[in-house]
């Protein structure tokens, strides 16, 4: 149980199911196996012709298994919508919840930064070429479509809220779900995010020269930018009492959320890290967890020189000298940057790490000799490299997200320990 930490709020909120789609595959197990083995999904991709783009790598989701292809046919859903529905079905199955019986009043807090942009691009290409356009493709292109599709799929009548605050969206959606469940506004919430690869973001980040030509190298000396990914993450949140009463085994407790804004620049982070530190401190305070109790960090870790530096400075502000010693991972090195979904899938990975008692390594050379692989003395984080770090005693973890437009969000998770265990 949560002994030793001050109560942060009214009702305790637990994660009782998770589901994911990522460049490592469809489902949680391919995701965890890939992460634990230090594998990266960032590679040449097929979604669109990228020969004229500056870079040529992305973490593309592989083709779906046959039964999923049949269950969520592409003609009826956007790609982001299909990812979302697959992740939600997996999360509900793990939570032991039946559709529609157990989810009729569920709320949905979902994030997306591009929604059905991939489908919109096909539509606009038809417009520009003077071809006949498929209007129905545009009906599902809006940012709210993945979240709406989930509620429609489940027959759920609770609140549906889509958050689109760039790379902090996923964490903000989880924060909104936490507050809804904690306050009693919702008894069950599906939270997460979904985004698919598209030319707009690929070309846009390349135009900003924010994409590394090699797989991204968060916190390494040679880091030169991010890698783009796609996928979805879904987490089932409910009050602790409700989960226990129905015999569910919580995977972790979502104990706190915090957010802030740099109010500094549209793309560059505030260099002192003050804004990000505010969000982290707010999350810790919300959770009633002191900084010294944090056992590991799942960083935002994009691999851009400025972002990693600002994040390090934020960690140093919050954790002081200890920031150099707290084990830290960067999931984006394995999955790429899932944009509006990144905060959600990194929160999900944080839950898996707590649950399984080990922190996944950051893919990439671990000897520091390969070009660009050396750790950066300017950002002296305790990066986990080479192999998973066993943390069987880890109880509290932080997941941080820093976004375009200066939006910052942080989440604090606690390991679930059954009473008497």
């Amino acid at each position: 149980m949560r002994a030793g930490f001050a109560a942060g709020a009214d009702r305790r909120v637990v994660v009782s199911g998770v589901g994911a789609v990522s460049g490592l595959g469809w489902g949680i197990e391919p995701l965890w196996q890939g992460l634990a083995s230090g594998r990266s999904a960032i590679r040449p991709f097929q979604r669109f012709d990228h020969s004229a783009h500056r870079t040529h790598l992305a973490a593309e989701v592989p083709a779906p298994p046959f039964e999923l292809e049949r269950r969520f046919p592409g003609r009826q859903q956007t790609l982001a919508g299909r990812f979302a529905l697959a992740a939600v079905d997996e999360a509900l199955a793990e939570a032991g919840l039946c559709v529609p019986r157990d989810v009729a009043e569920a709320a949905v807090f979902f994030s997306s930064s591009t929604g059905g942009m991939w489908e919109s691009e096909a539509f606009l290409a038809d417009v520009l070429a003077g071809r006949r356009q498929r209007l129905h493709a545009m009906a599902a292109q809006q940012l709210n479509c993945p979240g709406d599709a989930i509620a429609r799929h489940l027959g759920a009548s609770g609140a549906v809220q889509t958050i689109s605050s760039a790379c902090a969206s996923g964490a903000l959606a989880l924060g909104a779900a936490l507050r809804a469940v904690r306050s009693g506004a919702a008894e069950l919430a599906i939270a997460g995010g979904s985004d698919s690869l598209c030319q707009l973001t690929y070309a846009g980040f390349n135009a900003l020269r924010a994409v590394d030509e090699a797989p991204c190298r968060p916190f390494r000396a040679g880091r030169a930018g991010m890698s783009i990914g796609e996928g979805a993450a879904a987490l089932v949140l409910e009050p602790l009492e409700r989960a226990l009463a129905r015999g569910a085994v919580p995977l972790a407790e979502l104990a706190g959320a915090g957010a802030s804004c740099d109010a500094h620049h549209m793309t560059a982070p505030e260099p002192s890290g003050a804004g990000a530190a505010t969000a982290i401190e707010a999350a810790l305070s919300d959770a009633g967890v002191p900084p010294e109790a944090i056992d590991f960090i799942n960083s935002h870790g994009t691999g851009t020189p400025l972002n990693d530096l600002a994040e390090w400075r934020a960690l140093e502000r919050v954790f002081g000298e200890r920031a150099r010693r707290i084990p830290l991972t960067a999931t984006k090195a394995a999955l790429g940057h899932l944009l509006g979904c990144s905060g959600a899938i990194e929160a999900l990975v944080t839950v898996l790490c707590l649950q399984r008692g080990e922190l996944h390594p950051v893919p990439g050379p671990d000897d520091g000799d390969a070009a660009g692989a050396a750790l950066d003395s300017e950002v002296p984080v305790a990066l986990v490299v080479g192999r998973p770090l066993a943390l069987p005693e880890a109880r509290a973890a932080l997941s941080a997200s820093l976004a375009f437009g200066g939006s910052n969000a942080a989440l604090v998770f606690l390991r679930w320990e059954a009473a008497g265990a």
Binding site: A139, A140, A159, A203, G275
Partner: protein
């Protein structure tokens, strides 16, 4: 909620102009002030489709946003920053001054004397201020322009400037930069329900004590391609076909008709509305003059709705509405909405299925008892862009409303006859309702400032 939340500032930008007074005048006049022809020259519209929209003039922008600052922004960012500055000034908060030559409302409250604090006036409130903005479609003209570059000229021609401002949260970020707001920055995209969700989200931040104030609102732009898409989906009001099959008089018959038997679509609009929500004690300490109070908020979803339309889930939605009122103590002993709710600001827009769902949801919630006066301002201010949110605040502040723009013939299927323009007593509590295409629904209850 634990802390009382007041609306202390209000700024709006729309076809009606760049001031709260111009919106109030349009509502009292009950006319779509500023409606004009949309550029249809690209041939994307239907031949007999919609021609008009409520497009915001750019001429009033420089009063609130210097050209040098505006050139870094998309149109939604410009609208939003202008509206945020109006709201900030109206609230009598320090700093965040607009460019010289400001027009519109003078500050409603004296600006706090900041001499005792050496920081920039806005810095004194920075970490206490959240920003929550809604947008239905985001900066779609920039996304369109960027895609034209990528698809037409090649990806290396993509403009970083266009990309930076093509993200949905650009407006919220620009408000935060302009007002130095360092609290949470959140952007909600939930079609027509987003604006009220943004107010609810901001109110929750203030009520919980996480921030002292929040800038909340909604913004949308309406470029020609977007107008054409709405037209081709059949969402827009169009010249009515006469019984002979001929089109009606050009332009004259093209109007949004909320709750009317002849309604055939919405009048699309662009613009922004931003409110300052403030913790009551903090507002009183600095002598703010509130416009109204935020009493309750809630959301639900109608799973019977198709992705781009409205469903028939009025039973589900009315149950959720009553649940929200119950949590706020706004039900009477029979479980119906309390008589204290003496006005409804309805999101009825002239959509056939949307207005039907709205009418049936309200009537079910009121258990077929007479509804309080129903204001349906979207006939005058259009759909999207923030005029509706502004109208809700004006209604709660007791502003006079003219007859319902576009309404003439009651629809027996709906059973709702909206406001006829007669004088109304100052309201005690106003229910604001907005049901979105796709299934989302959101409500607010605003109370008199007291």
């Amino acid at each position: 909620m634990s802390r009382e939340v007041l609306v202390t500032g209000f700024g709006t930008v729309g076809a009606y102009g760049y001031a709260c007074e111009s919106l109030a005048a349009a509502l009292e006049l009950a006319a779509p002030v500023g409606a004009r022809e949309v550029d249809r020259s690209a041939g994307r519209h239907r031949a007999r489709g919609a021609r008009r929209a409520l497009l915001a003039p750019l001429s009033g922008l420089t009063a609130w946003l210097p050209p040098l600052e505006a050139r870094r922004m998309s149109l939604p960012s410009r609208f939003s920053v202008a509206a945020a500055r109006m709201a900030w000034c109206r609230a009598g908060l320090p700093g965040c001054r607009p460019a010289a030559g400001r027009e519109g409302l003078p500050p409603a409250a004296p600006v706090r004397d900041a001499r005792a604090d050496p920081r920039h006036p806005a810095e004194q409130t920075a970490e206490e201020t959240a920003v929550v903005m809604a947008t239905a479609f985001g900066p779609c003209s920039f996304a369109e322009a960027l895609l034209r570059q990528i698809l037409g000229e090649g990806p290396e021609s993509a403009s970083p400037y266009l990309f930076t401002e093509s993200v949905a949260n650009a407006a919220a970020a620009q408000i935060a930069i302009a007002c130095r707001a360092r609290g949470p920055s959140i952007t909600i995209c939930q079609r027509e329900a987003g604006a009220l969700q943004a107010v609810g989200c901001g109110a929750a931040e203030v009520a919980s004590g996480r921030v002292v104030r929040a800038l909340v609102g909604t913004v949308d732009e309406l470029p020609p391609l977007h107008h054409a898409l709405l037209d081709r989906f059949g969402a827009l009001a169009r010249p009515r076909a006469e019984p002979s099959g001929a089109a009606g008089p050009p332009g004259g018959e093209e109007a949004a008709r909320p709750f009317d038997r002849r309604r055939n679509g919405i009048l699309a609009a662009e613009g922004a509305t931003v409110l300052v929500l403030e913790e009551a004690e903090a507002a009183r300490r600095r002598g703010a003059r509130p416009l109204c109070r935020v009493l309750a908020w809630g959301s639900a979803f109608d799973p019977s709705a198709p992705p781009a339309g409205w469903g028939r889930g009025h039973a589900v939605l009315s149950r959720a509405l009553l649940g929200m009122l119950a949590r706020a103590g706004l039900l009477d002993w029979e479980g119906a909405p309390a008589a204290r709710i003496d006005r409804i600001v309805s999101g009825a827009s002239g959509s056939r299925s949307g207005d039907r769902l709205e009418a049936h949801t309200l009537r079910t919630a009121w258990n077929d008892r007479p509804l309080p006066p129903v204001l349906a301002p979207k006939g005058a201010v259009g759909e999207y862009g923030g005029g509706f949110l502004g109208a809700a605040v004006l209604a709660a502040a007791g502003a006079p409303f003219g007859p319902t723009c576009g309404f003439a013939e009651p629809d027996p299927e709906l059973g709702v006859v909206p406001h006829d323009g007669s004088a109304l007593a100052p309201p005690a509590a106003v229910l604001v309702s907005s049901l979105a295409a796709g299934g989302a629904a959101s409500w607010l209850v605003l109370g008199a400032a007291g």
